[in-house]
Symmetry: C2
Subunit: 300 residues, 2 copies
């Protein structure tokens, strides 16, 4: 595995890979790698274990633009030595670890990429400017790497939808892959931010996933009122933990629009604070088909 | 010359050209071609008259996103039959003439590209949203074509600076070429909008360039007070025509910042309305070097 902090060196290596006819895959991360990141590299690698057809680039960049003034930019965990070893073992070909100066050589970026509407809700309602920072840095990474495909974790579901919208709207020639959330054995979604949790918080945090499963199972049993699903999740988290709920919402999975009735594939998404640590999670649920529900009613 | 309105067909042709090792050049226009446009195609073509090394794409797209509600979107002149003939004669390989639906298939674009600060001044101060529309559609064209180089006319000087900023900030891998303004024999900058002018307005309009030359010659003679240059130009336009001045400004050429004293390369830029027709023009002027000025003072 190669490693570079320079855009020019990265591009040179990518051009070489392309001349060898390789497909270029990008996995953007903020580092402090966990298996949620590594599973994406392994997924790309398993299609080409001999490094002959697929060139996997993982970027590690803690993007200041996507952090608010009161957020955890400064304390965001870093461990490049460990990250390099793990990325190498997962089959990454090139680790791109630019400095802030390499990515923003002119200080502030006068140019930003903005996705409207779907960035005003969920996390976007609480993290002003976050998705502008994400869209801008992902645009930059796409322009630097020109990847054929790029992986994003499903844990950041809204981020994926925002990037998908940007790619469609701006005609960016990349195939996006949403990779399923990887979880600890007790269900907690893997996240670099889990490292902030105290032992007690860590013990309580799996309630997030348990309550999402609850919600999913209510919908699977025919509950189609989003408010009822939402209330159950809020109640369970409040009862079983000291987590402070930021939001719990049931929205249409494909465009994050609100649903009056759950009659399509939805995402149940939540953000909860444990002390100063903000955790997010989500689950995708297919609605019961109307026809099945009618059958159930007939049967009962 | 080929012609298509479809992104997919365009990309297919570009891929073919690239496989033949050709360099891809993009010339974005809004059509109703004049020699200002064609000179750019000829410039690219003259380096490869046999169509063996350079693949020239000219786009014709009147981008609704860059027109304000009270602007001339609906009456903007169109003549695709004539444009095709002229583009072909100028050596264009592929004319891309997408419909609004092809460029914005989802109606509005949730995603926009925004360049701050340098879009609040000059034309940007009077055409709200204009440069957002420009930056967004040029981003799209760059992502569709992935050109090695792209031409823009120097007549739209602020547009060039905005696109240059966007390209730098977003790491877009394209070489930008600012092509010198092509003028009618009486000095009027070529523009599709000149076709709106009445015979009397057309007779008066060359005062814009004459007054810019005036300003340039004042600076060449050692005048370094931007206000004095500006006043002379305003006075001449007001005296010699019925043009209503929107702005006349002297700014630093490389980043459009204000200058207290003309001691660097500046752009004198102006926008003037003749009836309902808005014309713009500009001239780049190198300041007299301080050392020369000292000499002059010593000599006199």
């Amino acid at each position: 595995m190669k490693i570079t902090e320079y855009i020019a060196a990265l591009r040179e290596n990518i051009n070489e890979a392309r001349e060898q006819g390789k497909t270029v895959v990008l996995i953007p991360t903020m580092g402090f790698l966990h298996y949620g990141h590594l599973a994406m590299a392994e997924d790309a690698r398993k299609q080409d274990e001999d490094h002959e057809k697929i060139y996997i680039i993982m970027s590690i960049f803690i993007n200041p633009l996507q952090f608010g003034p009161n957020e955890d930019l400064d304390k965001y965990p870093r461990n490049l030595v460990r990250d390099s070893r793990l990325a190498h073992e997962a089959g990454v070909d090139m680790l791109f670890v630019p400095s802030v100066e390499e990515m923003y050589p002119y200080g502030e970026s006068l140019t930003t990429v903005n996705v409207s509407k779907i960035t005003d809700i969920l996390c976007g309602a609480y993290r002003t400017g976050h998705f502008q920072g994400v869209a801008t840095v992902v645009s930059k990474l796409f322009n630097i790497v020109l990847p054929d495909a790029a992986y994003f974790g499903q844990k950041d579901y809204q981020q994926f939808i925002v990037i998908q919208q940007m790619v469609k709207d701006l005609n960016i020639p990349v195939k996006l892959i949403a990779y399923p959330t990887v979880r600890e054995s007790d269900g907690l979604a893997m996240s670099s931010r889990n490292s902030y949790l105290s032992p007690e918080q860590r013990k309580q945090a799996p309630v997030l996933y348990r309550s999402l499963l609850d919600g999913a199972s209510m919908i699977a049993s025919g509950e189609n009122r989003p408010e009822v699903v939402r209330e159950r999740i809020i109640q369970r988290i409040s009862t079983e933990s000291e987590g402070k709920i930021e939001y719990v919402e049931v929205r249409k999975a494909n465009d994050l629009s609100l649903v009056q009735r759950v009659n399509c594939t939805v995402v149940i998404a939540l953000a909860v604070h444990f002390g100063s640590t903000r955790l997010i999670d989500n689950i995708i649920v297919e609605a019961q088909k109307d026809v099945e529900k009618h059958d159930e009613i007939k049967d009962s």
